[in-house]
Assembly symmetry: C2
Homo-oligomer: 240 residues x 2
């Protein structure tokens, strides 16, 4: 009898916001795997500090490359594909006899790196279970403390890595907006919001639900922001 791969969503950052199921699976795990940048403790692993049993085997899946090569360079894809293939082999090997719990920040099927393993594992017929988590964006709009969407509001989620005209088009057509992957794309995002006349409504949330949580109007933000910051435009639809 083989084991299973169970990817558990860790939620937005506060361990208390993990699901009851995720908490139980992690505390009972024999094998725990997680992605991290080489030489760093890793955000997923840090989040579960004190929860992994001492008897469990940990598997740190360290990215061979993060920002050293542009994502549109074919070399980036080649290196990462090899990395995911190698970890697919390794996890497949462990699951011949035992379960593996794979940690994933936020919600695994929403921009989570696990998907690159999932598609490879499933292609080999290895069963994968997913435990959803509270998304990082949900942690951020909870930190901001106001309802994101009302009535029939349209909510669009865009990456600030997109070209400025595409961002602008989505700002114009959405009632409520979440912008992720900000970092050095902030000036471009600011221009798109200003052009759509919505810069004054934008809220910047850094580290939602974490100890460094910070919520400010975007107009008050100067200087660099973390890549994992989120900008919100709240909806204002129908309400009694």
């Amino acid at each position: 009898m083989g084991g299973r791969i169970i990817c558990v969503g860790l939620g937005p950052g506060d361990p208390d916001l993990m699901s009851v199921r995720a908490d139980r699976l992690i505390r009972g795990a024999h094998h725990v795997a997680y992605f991290r940048k080489a030489g760093r403790p890793g955000r997923a692993r840090t989040l579960v500090d004190g929860m992994i049993p001492e008897t469990a085997t940990e598997h740190a899946m360290e990215y061979p490359v993060t920002t050293e090569i542009p994502v549109d360079d074919p070399e980036y894809n080649r290196i990462l594909a090899g990395f995911y293939d190698a970890w697919t082999d390794r996890l497949a090997e462990i699951t011949t006899t035992e379960d593996v719990v794979v940690l994933c920040e936020g919600d695994p099927l929403f921009f989570g790196s696990f998907m690159h393993l999932q598609t490879r594992l499933e292609a080999r017929g290895i069963p994968v279970s997913i435990v959803p988590g509270i998304t990082g964006m949900s942690g951020c709009w909870t930190a901001a403390g106001r309802p994101m969407t009302w009535g029939d509001d349209v909510l669009t989620i865009v990456m600030a890595t997109l070209p400025e005209d595409e961002i602008l088009r989505h700002v114009r057509s959405a009632d409520a907006l979440v912008v992720m992957k900000i970092g050095r794309n902030l000036p471009k995002l600011r221009r798109a919001l200003a052009q759509a006349g919505r810069l004054d409504d934008a809220v910047m949330v850094e580290c939602g639900t974490m100890k460094d949580e910070r919520v400010r109007p975007l107009t008050e933000v100067e200087g660099p922001v973390p890549y994992f910051s989120i900008v919100l435009l709240h909806g204002s639809g129908r309400r009694p």
Copy 2:
């Protein structure tokens, strides 16, 4: 010293997917309030069966109207506004001495009814805390089992209650799409998806993470579906 209002997100339907914090707050509550249709047990209340202490006082906030009057009739707004005003009074009264835990399916700030109490309570200076939850849509895309978004995919969330041409416009401009509030709007949604050439990609999820969970290609769906069904179009962005 006054109490607090704490609105806890219950997640997508499976009690095991509630956050550790929500679980603890509900099991330790003295006052628990929840919305429901008059004469029904209520989905939020059913979800926490067996969790509320026997000594707790329950407050069923029963909607005075649900589908009997169209939402665009001014009378609908007038009746609901009175209902929210009255419960704001009642909760404000309890919090002069005690905490109240308000239950909310999914994630409170994402299309949750609690927002109508929140704005009224905050207008009176009564502090409100929100515990985020896993959204219903996240439960549904986990049930469907495939990654929703890759790379720089744009995800748009629309209500099927919108006019057909607006739905069509959003289907065309999004990479990944979530459609909520379907029910009798299904024929309209189907036409918009067909016109955009994406009908064959659409997945229908009913009761995601619940015991009646059902996942099918939309093309195989005949006859009526529950209002709380969700239709998904998966993204297909960049991947190594």
